[in-house]
Amino acid sequence: MRRVGVFVCWCGSNIAGMVDIEQVKAAAAKMPNVVYVEDNKYTCSEPGQAAIQKAIKEQNLDRVVVAACSPRMHENTFRRTVSGAGLNAYLLEIANIREHCSWVHPDKAAGTKKAVDLVRRAVYKVAKNVPLQRASIDVTKKALVIGGGIAGIQAALDIADAGQPVVIVEKTPSIGGHMAQLDKTFPTLDCSACILTPKMVDAAQNQNITLMTWSEVEKVEGYIGNFTVTIRKKARHIDTTKCTGCGICWSKCPAKLPSEFDLGLGQRKAIYVPFPQAIPNKPVIDEKNCIYFKTGKCKACQIFCPAGAIAFDQKDELIEEKFGAIIVATGYEQWDPSPYGEYGYGRYKDVITGLEFERLVNASGPTEGKIKRPSDGKIPKDVVIIQCVGSRDEAKGIPYCSKTCCMYSAKHAILLDEKIHAHPYVFYMDVRTPGKGYEEFYKRATEEHHATYIRGRVSKVYQKGDKLVCLGEDTLLGKKVAVEADMVILASAMVHQPAASKLAQTLGISYDQNHFYTEAHAKLRPVETNTAGIFLAGACQGPKDIPETVAQASAAASKAIGLLSKAKLETEPLVAQVNEGICSGCLWCKPICPYKAIDGKVIKERIAGGKTIERTVASVNASLCQGCGACTVACRTGAMNVLGFTNEHILAEVDALCL
């Protein structure tokens, strides 16, 4: 005979409004094993929890059922409550009579009946519960940051400052990310490089930070506190211990190519650093375009290198390292606006994207900061900026707002006026400027810098002489407008990195329909993923500007620091367990397990007649198991059970609901 206590919560009127609490109490009192029933206005409150602890002691309860909200909300709260009263935390069951009942039913009688059913289910199940113990595991005191943009740099600096070692893995030759490509930053117009490069240098010089540029994450195994990560260090063909970054090699290299950093507006060599402030200031050789790699001749860089640092025969290296926490900070890409045939991007040289404009206006860019249009180098007089190119357009597959474009378009308008006294025209759908100092910044663009804002979409851009005619509608006036521009800037959407979904699969984290990584809870757990020990920072989770990215990076870092500062980690005991006696060793469970937690093992067994035989049975690695239960469904003999959710538990619940 168990001694079960049932605690029914009103949740103010959330539950009590649609469920007759008295009826539920009366029904619960008649259920098997139930010796005590109580109701509370808010069971999760301090007096509510104290009432449970008091009842456990006074009524000598050995099992507890709380009929309240979803276990996702307060199961952990109530586990702490019962263990505070000396009961094992797993001798508790939650009946969800809020999200699954009162919130979704319009009829009180039916709602009450369902609440009674849900309580009965929990009462039957709790009778089968047994005490479970948490185990503890070690934590590797080192963090991995994937992505070396501003998000990754900030997260790494914070972790390093807390005294923990960090490795930054960056796929391009330098850290810096998109922020290094920007000219000025809104709303203060300070130069992007001026505020970014000191942080890049800090990251390079910090004793706790190891930079691995020109490297990519290849494989991730393990679990929270104990990830084993394989990193591909791509061949740089440079001996970085010898290279001084003097730059003779790239000045002598004869192979000229469009520069990725300048978005094809400028050139680089086959041996190159992507931009002057690159960190590390050591070049890479682009194997695909290097004359030596293509023809076997040239070697100009090797001939001229005073340090003897060129290493043509260098190969990719695979490095395996252990980490306790991982921060994903892989950022975004700018969307290619070619699908808008009507804007003529790719057809007309003077139709450029916002990021391309950043390079045009930047002092270290291809025009040395002089805003010259790409076609003929003329300084534009009238410039049209088109907002929401891709963003908020389901027909182009991007339903969301890219969040940053209204502000950077206002910035471009200001820069156009300030630098070359060009007249900016901004076509917009809505101007969205939530953020500190943002609305004021937009006002400055219109009032001090005379930007002409036109509410409406551009329907077509076409060449007329050396002008680009932008046809559109001014929806406030209800009139067609045609603006003859010298240059057109498309505020193109922020989209996921092309390999975002592949990395998500490598890491075992989830992503949304737009291939942005999904946080564990949209409001309350914004930097955690659903995979324990992996955190998110920056635009890989969704479009963000710099202040928001930096804030999120520091938040992710503090989560990682919290994890790394623990001596041991407690594990959930709700994992799969094999009953070896009836396991047939078929191992159907093995390929079904998404966490690679199951393997076969050989056991010795004495059988009738005193003989000993050897046979294979399934074996679960409790540290890897997440308790999803897939194996229990696959198991033909019923040997596999998830603790806390055994077949016996499920059958008890079915009995409670159906009999």
Binding site: G341, K460, Y462, Q463, K464, G465, V469
Partner: protein, 289 residues
């Protein structure tokens, strides 16, 4: 290759030269045309401005007849093609609507045949290579602006056989004939279509912009694939010149006329005399005809 041929009202009246040269070109390329018996008007703008169901039922009756013939439909007129394609698109995954339409036309419409524009058949299905092989008199030195108008390639979800903003199929055909094409801005702008009667001022403005852009791009002539476009650009050119005090003198061809000419057909049989802007002078000066 055999198609159910839907001429539509224009090809039997104001655009007989389009009809004649369509038949000439198809015969040369081995495309058999079987005219849909007892066909009716596609409804054009009037129907869909009046009643949505009517705008679907009118083309559906013609499509149902093509279903009985077991042939896909080819329509040389851009408006007819667009109405048919729209009907197929809207009823494709909507059994209820298809049933309603069938009730209205008093015959079962199942949605089993496709509708294609003549340009799509000749430029995409037959292709410029086959066309080039039939050329006897290349249109050397003739610089044309290929004009698609608004209905031939839009909306992309309904048409989808060429780029909606910068289509190229007519250019490829013209190049195969030996003509030169210009890159220009107004190839998919609207000519004003049937507003030519009720709001002549609007058509004058729209055709002015198109003619202006073609001239600025250096074209000797415009080539089109729609009887409304041809009627407006050719027929209203005099009005535009008077209103805007300009001079264009841009002949407006059907693409089938130029194909027939390049295939070696006698020029006097191609209906040039029916044009408002007589193209023969231009063709003589280029020694093409």
């Amino acid at each position: 290759m055999k198609y159910a041929y839907y001429p539509g009202c224009s090809l039997h009246s104001t655009a007989t030269e389009y009809e004649e040269t369509t038949r000439t070109v198809c015969a040369t390329l081995g495309v058999e045309l079987a005219e849909i018996p007892d066909w009716n008007c596609c409804g054009a703008t009037s129907a869909h401005a009046t009643n949505h169901l009517l705008s679907l039922a009118l083309p559906a009756r013609d499509l149902a007849k093509a279903e009985q013939m077991g042939l896909d439909v080819v329509a040389p007129c851009a408006a007819c093609y667009n109405r048919m394609a729209q009907t197929i698109h809207e009823t494709k995954d909507n059994e209820v609507l298809r049933h309603k339409v069938s009730q209205v036309i008093g015959a079962e419409y199942q949605g089993t045949v496709k509708a294609k524009s003549l340009l799509e058949v000749l430029a995409a299905d037959i292709g410029p290579k086959v066309v080039e092989a039939k050329v006897q008199k290349p249109l050397k030195g003739l610089k044309v602006a290929a004009y698609y108008g608004c209905l031939l390639v839009r909306p992309p979800a309904v048409t989808g056989w060429d780029d909606a903003e910068n289509p190229q199929s007519m250019e490829r055909l013209m190049t195969a004939l030996g003509a030169e094409t210009v890159d220009w801005s107004h190839k998919t702008e609207c000519c004003g279509a049937s507003l030519t009667i009720s709001r002549t001022d609007i058509v004058a403005k729209l055709t002015h912009d198109i003619l202006d852009a073609a001239k600025a791009a250096g074209a000797d002539a415009i080539v089109c694939a729609c009887p409304m476009c041809q009627a407006n650009l050719d027929g209203r050119q005099g009005l535009v010149e008077k209103t805007y005090k300009t001079q264009y003198h841009l002949p407006v061809f059907y693409f089938t006329q130029l194909m027939s000419l390049a295939f070696g057909k006698e020029p006097y049989k191609l209906g040039f005399a029916r044009h408002s802007i007589d193209p023969r002078e231009l063709l003589h000066s280029k020694e093409i005809a």
